[in-house]
Symmetry: C2
Subunit: 173 residues, 2 copies
């Protein structure tokens, strides 16, 4: 099978990094639970929104993300029997591109460069499965879409949902 | 139609840049004609090969390429009636990623970020047309492949060939 896997909030814990950085920079104590159903920038006072939205432009933000629990192990197992492509809608943020490539070198060295995709729209991807946390990416994908749970998408319906990498393993391995 | 367009040697004159930089750095006088049927690094003395192969890692190399004649105008026209995606197999060269994004901002600002793809393999692209100078990219593409002429591919057969952007315009506009 050809399986496309999103990066932010599927392989890399971008959501938690937004919350942690916001709490640190503003002495706040926002929790993931409080954010459910919303983006992080929607959970802060209006005057803090530009700072949170600006995280994506901070040097090192994408480079230092933690891998999501179980992602490395499950993707490694999947890659032994499938064509795995990592596909991130990253082209909006120029400085993220190299950081994402380096992050993959560090955490997913077994996914070679020709199986990595930095893009925008994902409906132009031809394959069997797309694992993604965003409805907008899944809705026009031609294959089987798996919605990877993230605080922002807890209320999203209409897609086959996976809550963690154990569940992905059960379905695809 | 959904049309994918390669960057190097289709939109950007990478081949000429290799030759010019080699001639400048080594006081040589290599011509495009001498290179026909080969990569630039295959046309220089053995001891110069690492330098030519290293061009891809030089800061500014991809950022300063000249657009190929007619590319900007024809792609702009095509984009008014088609979904145009620019797809470059760039993931091998980390430092090229930002340079390519900036280059597109400068020369193809009318192609928005979500229609730009930095990838490796291109057979995972789902669309109608791929314009590319490399047989390896065209051979597994599911749609119509157009081989864009470049000095290195003059002897490549088996694909519908376009010699310049005028010919692309005649076929697709």
């Amino acid at each position: 099978m050809t399986i496309f896997i999103d990066m932010d909030e599927v392989l890399a814990d971008t959501y938690a990094a937004h919350v942690e950085r916001y709490n640190r920079d503003f002495g706040a104590s926002l929790t993931l639970e409080e954010c459910e159903g919303r983006e992080v920038w929607q959970c802060v006072p209006r005057e803090h929104i530009p700072a949170v939205r600006g995280h994506c432009h901070l040097p090192g933000f994408f480079r230092t993300l933690r891998p999501i629990e179980g992602a490395v192990e499950t993707v490694r197992e999947l890659s032994s029997k499938n064509d795995i492509y990592i596909a991130s809608a990253a082209m909006e943020f120029h400085d993220s591109l190299k950081e994402k490539a380096e992050w993959l070198d560090e955490h997913f060295p077994f996914i070679p460069w020709h199986n990595r995709i930095l893009c925008g729209y994902k409906h132009i991807l031809l394959g069997d499965v797309l694992i993604d946390d965003r409805k907008k990416n899944l809705m026009n994908f031609r294959g089987r879409g798996l919605l990877y749970s993230s605080p922002h998408n807890v209320q999203t319906n209409g897609f086959e949902r996976v809550n963690n990498w154990e569940e992905v393993a059960k379905i695809l391995l």
